[in-house]
């Protein structure tokens, strides 16, 4: 139903094949969060994977001893901005699950501060997702999710839960915080799965 807006010519034509529909390229790093930024000390930080059979935990030092990946990726926020070629370091979800058996197909990511987001498990595997703790060569800033955030760059960026503390396996897909509050259950930027 799109129609031409009278008088609008648009300023930028920074079109790029890497830019999904409805997105605008930005060079800064906007912030989207629903509440205050939690203050999480790495000395207190702990990461948990919860399956039907039990919990698996890492403290910060244990986490840093895991295999660390360098990630170069584009990120897309539901609020219409994208950043291209962002550089991260983190531990892939494949690495975390190397020795964890599970037959559950869905994941709820839990964050310090209480927020959650849901993701199908297979969309976190095969080099598609990380727990990232470095952005652009620096420790991840708290307002961008530091000390560590989930990084799932092929989905809208609210799925890349800031201040992540746990991945909880689930038998069925259930909406997380943002999904209960109007955002799409899946969130593929190429299909513009922004809102339900």
């Amino acid at each position: 139903m799109s129609f031409i807006t009278r008088g609008f010519s648009g300023r930028s034509r920074e079109r790029d094949d890497r830019l999904p529909p409805g997105q605008t390229l930005v060079h800064d790093f906007p912030v989207l969060s629903a509440g205050p930024t939690p203050d999480v000390d790495t000395a207190e930080w702990e990461f948990t994977v919860r399956t039907a059979t039990g919990d698996h935990r890492w403290n910060w030092d244990e986490f840093m001893a895991l295999k660390i990946d360098e990630v170069d990726t584009d990120i897309h926020c539901v609020t219409h901005w994208s950043k291209l070629g962002t550089r991260w370091r983190g531990v892939s979800i494949d690495t975390l699950f190397e020795d964890i058996e599970t037959d559950q197909d869905y994941v709820m990511a839990h964050s310090y501060g209480g927020y959650t987001t849901n993701i199908p498990f297979d969309e976190l595997l095969d080099g598609k997702a990380w727990i990232a703790f470095e952005f652009d060569g620096e420790p991840l800033d708290p307002e961008h999710g530091g000390p560590a955030r989930l990084l799932v760059p092929h989905l809208y960026f609210w799925k890349s839960a800031k201040w992540v503390r746990a991945l909880e396996m689930m038998d069925q897909d259930e909406p997380g915080f943002w999904e209960q509050n109007g955002y799409h259950i899946h969130g593929d930027p190429w299909k513009e799965e922004r809102y339900w």
Binding site: S2, F3, V26, P30, S33
Partner: protein
């Protein structure tokens, strides 16, 4: 790696990791059914007028608009003759079942969409809109929610738009919940909805308005123009002991600063809802 696995013996930590999204029922998400479904609509501009030296108020009649809750936002999509389009999100300054909606758009210095909406749009123009959007940064009257908690609104600049919608809904409902609005503006001329805010303060629903000027004050103002301090914030907000629900909206810097101070002042982080406007 199995030597790193720890059995689930720490009951407290286990329970904490399993805590649902927001444990406190008064901040729980609204059921889907309570929020009008988002969709694409065509809005016809019925009035465009200057709100402040840097902002324009747009009133639109929107076909089939399902109504919106106070605090929700929408996307505006502009399309150029060559098919190029640009989409941005704007808070809605109005609420309720009406198909007449109000936006107030601040012109960003390097913006692509906001200068067009502020300078170019005039009555009769049509705009593509998608919404209403968002179900968290919203407020509903106490008769609907049963929540007796007082409400503190804190606005920086154009961040007042969704909070104005919330304060108006409070007044329209003659809601007895105590409200305070702390509003930081650059100068008296930069205050959005100045006349309407005076009306809201005078209305029967209890609202106290505290203004902070960061660049220039009115004549005879008791304090010099300055950015808000933690002390000023503490003096102007409902104390944490009264367990207010707090809505903060402004630039990222404003929201980060204010939300951090609120937590330091003892407010429960889960009772603080934030929304920021971006820089693009």
């Amino acid at each position: 790696m199995s030597d790193r696995l720890t059995p689930a013996t720490d009951a407290a930590a286990t329970a904490e990791a399993a805590v649902p999204v927001v444990a406190d029922s008064s901040t729980a998400a609204l059921p889907r059914s309570e929020t009008p479904r988002a969709g694409w609509h065509v809005g016809t501009v019925v009035a465009a007028r200057r709100e402040t030296p840097n902002a324009t108020r747009l009133e639109l009649d929107v076909d089939d608009w399902p109504g919106n809750a106070a605090g929700q936002h929408l996307d505006v999509r502009l399309t150029a003759p060559d098919g190029y389009s640009a989409t941005r999100s704007y808070s809605i300054a109005s609420s309720g079942p009406s198909s007449r909606i109000v936006l107030a758009v601040d012109k960003l210095p390097d913006g692509e969409v906001s200068p067009f909406l502020v300078e170019e749009v005039r009555a009769g123009d049509q705009l593509e809109l998608h919404g209403p959007l968002g179900a968290y940064f919203v407020w509903r009257p106490a008769v609907e929610t049963g929540s007796p908690r007082p409400v503190q609104l804190i606005a920086g600049g154009s961040g007042v738009v969704p909070l104005f919608a919330i304060a108006t809904a409070h007044a329209d409902a003659a809601d007895p919940t105590p409200f305070r609005l702390l509003y930081s503006a650059r100068t008296p001329a930069d205050v959005y909805f100045a006349d309407e805010l005076r009306g809201l303060v005078a209305a029967s629903a209890p609202l106290r308005l505290d203004l902070v000027y960061t660049r220039r004050t009115p004549d005879g103002w008791p304090v010099p123009a300055a950015r808000i301090t933690r002390e000023a914030l503490e003096a102007a907000v409902i104390p944490a002991a009264h367990e207010p629900l707090v809505y903060v909206c402004g630039s990222t810097g404003f929201v980060e600063r204010v939300a951090d101070w609120l937590v330091e002042l003892g407010h429960d982080p889960r009772s603080i809802r934030t929304e920021r406007y971006g820089g693009t």
